[in-house]
């Protein structure tokens, strides 16, 4: 049987007003970008609770991308500024703990930047692919009769 080379799973949180629209533009312009990302639309990049990112990593995605409006352009005026602080804190902390920085990435993509969106996705996918599948922190086995016994037993 031919072994398919491993493809990373990347979760992308896109803010509704800018980044999601930018992704949409990339689609309508028929710009190709890797299909590794799965998109979750949020109202604003400031909505991102670090728990989302951690839960995503625990559930088995190999990388997370959070994208919002450029500073000054937030639909809610200052949401992305707050989000920027949270993102900076979380990224520094995760790297400190030993989770590779390349797995949690951030970008500003406006509604007109379809090209930039696809470029960002391309970059993030490549970087995560280089890092390999996330083994640490992931909730392994995760029940089921067919899966392995829990570690502690």
């Amino acid at each position: 049987m031919m072994e398919k080379s491993w493809e990373p799973k990347i979760l992308a949180f896109l803010c509704n007003w800018c980044s999601y629209a930018g992704a949409d533009l990339a689609g309508t312009s028929r710009i190709q970008y890797p299909s590794n990302i799965r998109v979750i639309r949020v109202p604003c990049s400031g909505r991102i609770n670090p728990l989302f990112i951690l839960k995503a990593l625990q559930s088995g995605v190999d990388g997370v991308l959070v994208s919002g409006c450029h500073p000054g352009d937030c639909h809610y005026l200052s949401g992305n500024y707050i989000g920027r602080r949270k993102s900076a804190t979380l990224k520094c902390f995760l790297e400190f703990l030993g989770i590779e920085g390349g797995r949690v990435q951030f970008s500003w993509v406006s509604a007109a930047e379809g090209v930039k969106f696809s470029r960002v996705v391309q970059e993030v996918t490549e970087e995560v692919k280089k890092l390999g599948p996330l083994k640490k922190f992931k909730k392994s086995s995760w029940f089921g009769v067919q899966s392995s016994e829990k570690e502690n037993e």
Binding site: I82, R84, T89, F93, F96, L97, G98, S107, K139, N152
Partner: protein, 314 residues
């Protein structure tokens, strides 16, 4: 003498009915321990003591007694916790009366226990010495060799905010950005760091003593109790244990005063300070914010500067 002054102030406050109760320290029932006491009668003020075993952060009781006017005995770190709580407008209607004690740094009872062979039956503090006695031994230890790590690097031993100070402010250490536990951790490689963190967290029994001992953890519903959405299971899988510690530390960013109560409360001796100190350092470097110093500044994660660092953003 600090102890005498504390008793006098407590007695006066209670007699004048300026406070409903005084929260301070009394004699513990074990060697090397002091225990929180709650004094309501002026006569009971004689139970108040002060020594190098007063390791708890009493600010955590403010949440339990938030319906009373409280006179709280605070060390430097405790006072910073209260300032941090004030920033969050926690005690807007009922601010505590702070009796500040410039802290001589607290003794790490676990370090002392490990330094002697045999069970300690009695411990005495005399000036700069700790004398421990057990069956067939009597050892005199230099107090300064057995301080908590968080106390060794403390730069705010004098309470930054207090209604009354019982002693002269002490000479502070020059501002030092590092913490030995954190530095040692940071010097490791990425893989080693994760391994260390996971190994420490693997002992965790999810008792949440760290959370309850912390004055900054007062959410009505903690993220671990949330069932919709369920962020984290209640079991002991390594993934959940690291998740819990990661998030609890993250929720302290810009709020933790470095008192070390979490580490001191943990029955499994898990190291926790290096996590919160990292976040404090980041708050300082990224946002110029230091916990508990500025009583007016907004909490760092609830505000922004247009020029915030964003070189990590594509």
């Amino acid at each position: 003498m600090i102890q005498q002054k504390l008793r006098e102030i407590a007695k006066e406050l209670l007699m004048k009915k300026e406070v409903d109760l005084i929260i301070g320290f009394g004699e513990g029932t074990l060697p090397l321990r002091a225990t929180p006491i709650f004094v309501r009668d002026p006569e009971e003020a004689e139970r108040i003591i002060w020594n190098s075993f007063c390791e708890n952060n009493l600010a955590t009781y403010l949440h339990k007694f938030d319906r009373f006017k409280v006179g709280l005995i605070v060390k430097g770190c405790d006072a910073r916790s209260v300032v941090a709580l004030n920033l969050e407008k926690r005690f807007k209607n009922n601010p505590p009366f702070l009796i500040g004690v410039p802290c001589q740094r607290m003794v790490d009872r676990r370090k002392v226990k490990k330094a002697v062979k045999g069970e300690i039956l009695k411990a005495l503090e005399e000036d700069d010495r700790i004398i421990v006695e057990g069956e067939g031994f009597r050892v005199i230890l230099k107090r300064d060799d057995f301080l908590y790590t968080s106390c060794q690097v403390c730069t705010h031993r004098t309470p930054v905010q207090a209604n009354v100070l019982v002693d002269q402010p002490v000479e502070e250490l020059p501002l030092v950005e590092s913490h030995p536990d954190m530095d040692q951790f940071e010097s490791k490689s990425l893989e080693e760091r994760w391994k260390f963190f996971e190994n420490e967290a693997s002992r965790c029994i999810r008792c949440y003593a760290c959370r309850e001992a912390c004055p900054m953890c007062y959410c009505r519903e903690c993220f671990v109790d949330s069932s919709r959405p369920k962020w984290i299971e209640k079991g002991l899988s390594p993934s959940d244990l690291t998740f819990y510690h990661m998030v609890r530390a993250y929720h302290q960013s810009g709020r933790c005063s470095g008192c070390g109560s979490c580490e001191r409360a943990c029955p499994m001796e898990i190291r926790l300070n290096y996590l919160t100190q990292k976040l404090n350092r980041d708050a300082k470097e990224l946002f110029g914010f230091e916990v508990g110093i500025n009583p007016d500044g907004p909490p760092p994660l609830s505000t922004f500067e247009t020029e915030d660092k964003q070189d990590f953003i594509k």
